[in-house]
C-alpha cells in the first residue's frame, strides 16, 4: 500500500494538522515541516518548533503522526530537525492572511535582524490602522507580542517576527 502513496499526498495530509495555539494555521502554513521522505516501512517526516521552548512541540509531533497515519494508513515517524531553525519568514502568505482574519497581526517580513523599530506601527488586524505601539514584546504565548491601536482603541496580539 505504501508504494501508492505520494509525497504530495503526505503534504496534503499535513495541511490538516493544526497548531494547537493558533487553530487556523496548519504545520504547513507555519513552515514547520522541513522534509518528507518515503522509507521502506512508511514515511519519515522532519519538523522544527517555532520557539525553542515551545511547550506544544511533542503534542504537535504526536498530532502529525496520528493524523497522517489515520488519513493515509501508513506508518509515520516524526523527527525534530536540528539542522534547520525556524524563522518567521518561513510562514506562507496564505498563513499570514488567515492569521489576520483570526485577529492576530502577522509578522513583518524580516530583512536581516530584528530591530526595535520593526515593532512600531504594526498594522492593526481589526481596523488596519498603523497608529499603533508595542505594549510588550511578550504575549499570551511565546510567539506573540502585545500592541495597542490608537485608532480603534483596542489591544491586539501579533505573531512576532523571529530571525
Amino acid at each position: 500500500m505504501s508504494q501508492t502513496i505520494s509525497i504530495a499526498a503526505v503534504y496534503e495530509s499535513l495541511e490538516h494538522v493544526m497548531d494547537p495555539e493558533i487553530p487556523v494555521l496548519s504545520v504547513i502554513d507555519l513552515g514547520m515541516i522541513t522534509g518528507v521522505d518515503m522509507v521502506a516501512d512508511g514515511v519519515h517526516i522532519k519538523m522544527i518548533p517555532t520557539f525553542a521552548a515551545c511547550p506544544a512541540v511533542s503534542y504537535i509531533q504526536h498530532n502529525i503522526k496520528t493524523v497522517v497515519e489515520n488519513e493515509l494508513g501508513i506508518a509515520v515517524t516524526v523527527e525534530i530537525d536540528k539542522q534547520v531553525h525556524w524563522e518567521s519568514n518561513r510562514m506562507t502568505d496564505a498563513a499570514k492572511e488567515k492569521l489576520k482574519n483570526f485577529g492576530i497581526a502577522p509578522p513583518q517580513i524580516l530583512e536581516g535582524e530584528v530591530r526595535a523599530e520593526i515593532m512600531l506601527h504594526t498594522p492593526c488586524p481589526h481596523c488596519g490602522s498603523e497608529q499603533t505601539y508595542l505594549r510588550s514584546p511578550f504575549g499570551s504565548t511565546l510567539c506573540r507580542a502585545i500592541h495597542f491601536c490608537k485608532s480603534c482603541g483596542q489591544v491586539f496580539e501579533q505573531f512576532k517576527p523571529l530571525e
Partner: protein
Amino acid sequence: MSNNAALKDLIIKMADDELILGHRNSEWTGLGPVMEEDIAFSSMAQDKIGHAWALYRILHEDLGGEHPDRFAFIRSEKAFQSSHLVELPNGEYDFSLMRHFLFDQAETVRYESLQNSSFAPFQLLSKKVKGELKYHTLHADAWIMQLSNAGEESYARMQTALNNTIALAAGIFEASPEHEATLIADKVYPGEKELYHRWQERIYPVLVKSSLNLPDMSTITPVYGGRQGFHTEYLQPLLKEMGEVFNLDTEASW
C-alpha cells in the same frame, strides 16, 4: 573528543544559570506589578528553561550525559555550577529588572560568540537562541531606560540596583581554571575575559541613555564561587522546591 570534560563544564554552567534564573523569573507569575510584566517574566522564564533543556540535551545526546530531567532535578547542590547572581531571591522589582538586563545582555554576547564555535551543536543552538533573546533585551533595555528617566525616586532605585548587582553580574564570567585554556585553544568560545569585555561594551550605551553611572569596573570584585560549586544560602531551598514533584517519584513517566 579529548576536550569533553571542558565542554561539559561550559555547558553545565550555562545551562544551570538558565534553569535557576528561569525558576526565579517564574516566581513573578501572578505577582507582576502590571499584567504585561507578569506575562513578560513568565514568558522569559519559559524561554530560559527551554534554553537550559536544550543545553542539557546536548550533554545527554552528544556527550553521553544523563537525561535532562534527571540531570536538572536530582543533582546535589554542590554539583550545580550556577552563578550567585541567578540564585538570589527576586527581592524588589528594580533588582529583578536589573538582573534581567545584566544577565540577558551577557547571555546575548555569549550566544553571539557561539555562532562561530568549533563545537557544532553550539552553532545550531546559538542561532535559535540569539533570535529569541532579542525580545528579552528589547524588554530589558526599554524598562531600564524608562524607569531611570521616570523621576527622582525611580532613578535612585535603578542606580542603587545597578550598584548592588554589578559585582554579582561580573561573576557570570568566572572562568574554569582547569578548562578555560583548552576551550579557547579549541575555539569552542572566545573565553570569559573576552566575553566580559564585550558585555561591558554592550551594556554601557544603554546605561548612558538611562543616565546611570556604571561603577568603575576596575574597583569591583566579581562574585565568584558558583562555578566551583560554592553557592549562596538561597540555592538549596530553591532546588528543593523545584524538584519537589519530580522527586516524589523519580521513575514516573510524565
